[in-house]
Every structure is written in structure tokens, then in C-alpha cells.
Subunit: 233 residues, 2 copies
């Protein structure tokens, strides 16, 4: 008998936006694991902290700050080994994931390492795109429209090309790319319908028209661009 | 004093995928409202049914089956009037929404009618796209990739154009468009990496490679198409 890995989305930040299933699994967990960027705090752990049992065993997976791939891969190798040790002793492991585990999440690195040998279950969570739409109070996408979700980290020309052909757009990972994104949206005539959201659902949430967003933006920031026609219904 | 409208996402189907906040608001609600297609059942109500107080007052908003716009608009006019009556008596109203309220949801029709006069709060929910990725057990989108979400109802040429330029793709509202979508994906050489998911998170959930999906598909079905390179990591 071996344990099960549960990749559990904890939602966008407000602990009350955890699902009932996430709450049940996290509060009942004997072992939790989470990735943590070197020299920072785990956001997923901070969302789930009040729900975790005081006796829980924690497996932090420290991922080095580096654009090189090998050091991060080695960190996920060590993390999945530590998780595998628990699973082999028939203990389940809950992996805490920001937002949703399979939506731009690092859970895939553990999933790919463990899913061949162990049972892996994924519990979807509220993702940041819908949380930002709720904060802005505008429909994200409707009827026959398409929604394009793109990272703001893309090169300027590619960003422009993708947004030019799109209906509604959510631009993730704004951070230090704010000015580049503003230029692109201004050139496309779509800056007017764009909203800026920072730390959605947290106490220090900010919601502003794009033109008023102060730079630099934090990593947890997003820009939502209305549809071309009848922007927000 | 007037009440507040809460547009509450109940998630993709499994009641345990409601958020803690949805649970709190629905179980404490004196009045709930929900749209219901003529001659069918409200999916959102069925997800929330066990959580609702037996004494709750229900406002079903019956939307006629029609492709014409005016009858549906009239139904939302009547529904928002009924909700407004409660709000004016200082009672809060919880509107039950499938998945997430602002993601292809009819909540926007109530939002646009009520938000000028009353306080409207939106509680985001787990949407069907991430629920289907969890059912499939594959990363939806990662790193610098884009995710395009499109309705399968689009004309064949437009569907092909949009998918041709996209990384990962989620095709919603498959239903009777299954064969058309299969043709498009085959022509683009992307049928092999596509997964078909029906009634995600419900007891009768089905997950199949696209080639094995039997038609006709129910309304609650989706196709997820892997990224062009390194499809599922």
C-alpha cells in the first residue's frame, strides 16, 4: 500500500476562497509539501496556514532563484524524493498550490515525477483570472467570445500580435512588464478598456484603471482587457 | 438601507468544490435567485441544494428557450425586478452561478441591471476549465505559454484560425459541435494531444482521448488541446 499525492489549489489569496474539499484535505493532512522560492515565503502555505494541523509534517521544496533550468529541476527531484518516502510509508501528502494546481503552477514538476509510480489526485482551485474579474466587477467573457490568457513576460512584438487578434484578454505576471504592456495596449487602442488588479482578494488589493496603475507592479498583478465590441456589456 | 446582491460561483458540479465563502453565503441566505432554462433544471441550484436553508425564499428566473434576444432580456428584466424588491426591503440576495459568475455566465445580465442601484459583490468560483484539466491530470498551461479559451459554437473557419495560432486551447460548449471540432483539430495535426471531458467532477464524469469520444456530446463537455511543443510536459 502506498499513499496518494493530492495537488490542492488553495485559491487566489483569501483563505475563504479555498474549496470545501481543499479545507478537508489540508486540515486532515499529516504531511504537506509546497514549493518555496529561495529567500521568500511560500504564498500557498500562507493562505493555508490557519487550516493546517499544528502537528503536520512540512516538506518545503526550496527552489533556487535562477533562470537556469538545472538547479530548479534538481530541487524538484529532491522534493519528489521526499514526498515519495512518505507515500511509500502509506502516508498521503497534500501539495499546497497557489490558485489552481495545473494553471501556471509548479505542481506539474512534481506531477510529472510522481504520477507514474503513485496515485495523484488534483483538486482544482479558484484561479487568479476569475478572482481579478470579480475584483473589477466586470464580465470576463461571454456568449461566443474567446478569452486569451497570456503572460506579460512575452516579448513586445509577440504580445502585440496575440492581443491584436484576441477578444477579451487577461495578462498575467505583469510585474516589471507594466510599461511594455501599457505601450502595446495603447498602440492597439485598447488601453481605455483595461483594468489593473493587484493582490486580488487580499486585504491590500488594488483595483485601478490601467492608466492610473503606478509602476513598478508586484508579481501578483494582472491586467484585464475588455472585449473589442461592447467592452463590458 | 438596501441589501446586497452576491453573485456566487458554486463551482463545476461537485458540491465539495464550492468555496468556504460560497458555503457561508448560501447556507446563511434568506433569499436565493438563479436562472433556469425553460423546461429544465437549474444546474447551479442542484449543486447548492443541500447547503440551502429549508426556509430560504427562491427566485427562479425562467429564461425561455429561444435564439431571439428580446424574450431572454425580458426574463432578466423580470428577475432583476424581483431581486430589487428584496434588496429594497434590506434583504441580501444570493445569486447561484454555475462555475464562476463572470466566466461565460448569465450573471452579467443581472449585474448590468442591478449594479448601478445596489451593492453587487462577486464571489469567484472554480471554473470548468481547471476542473477538466484536473480530471485529465495534465497541466493546462505553463511558464511563458498562452491559453486560449474558445466556444465550440464558433464557425468552423474561425475555430481553425484561432486554434492555428494558439498554444494550449480549451474548447468549451462542445455539445453538438463535436464532429466539427474533431475535423478542425485533425486538419491542424492537433487531435492526438486532445482530451475529451464530460461532466467534470460529477459522479458520471467521462474522460477520454478525443478520438474515442462518442457523439453526440452533452452540453457540459469540453476538449483540452495540449501545447504544440512538449504537449503535456
Amino acid at each position: 500500500m502506498t499513499g496518494t499525492v493530492h495537488g490542492v489549489g488553495v485559491g487566489p489569496g483569501d483563505p475563504e476562497l479555498m474549496t470545501l474539499k481543499a479545507f478537508r484535505l489540508i486540515s486532515g493532512a499529516e504531511v504537506v509539501a509546497y514549493p518555496i522560492l529561495e529567500a521568500s515565503e511560500s504564498f500557498a502555505r500562507s493562505v493555508a496556514a490557519k487550516v493546517m494541523s499544528p502537528a503536520v509534517k512540512e516538506i518545503p521544496i526550496t527552489v533556487p532563484m535562477s533562470t537556469r533550468r538545472a538547479p530548479a529541476q534538481a530541487a524538484y527531484d529532491r522534493g519528489s524524493d521526499a514526498i515519495a518516502t512518505e507515500l511509500e510509508a502509506d502516508r498521503d501528502v497534500v501539495v499546497l498550490c497557489e490558485g489552481d494546481p495545473l494553471f501556471y503552477g509548479s505542481f506539474m514538476y512534481l506531477h510529472s515525477r510522481l504520477s507514474g509510480r503513485f496515485r495523484v489526485e488534483v483538486v482544482p482551485g479558484v484561479n487568479s483570472v476569475t478572482a481579478c474579474a470579480a475584483a473589477l466587477g466586470r464580465p470576463l467573457v461571454a456568449r461566443n467570445e474567446a478569452l486569451t490568457i497570456i503572460p506579460g513576460t512575452l516579448p513586445e512584438a509577440e504580445l502585440e500580435h496575440r492581443i491584436a487578434g484576441a477578444d477579451a484578454v487577461a495578462i498575467m505576471k505583469v510585474g516589471r512588464h507594466l510599461e511594455k504592456i501599457r505601450r502595446v495596449l495603447a498602440r492597439l487602442g485598447r488601453a481605455e478598456t483595461a483594468g489593473y488588479i493587484e493582490r486580488a482578494t487580499l486585504a491590500n488589493q488594488k483595483v485601478l484603471p490601467l492608466g492610473e496603475a503606478p509602476g513598478p507592479a508586484p508579481y501578483f498583478s494582472m491586467i484585464l482587457v475588455g472585449r473589442k465590441v461592447d467592452p463590458w456589456l
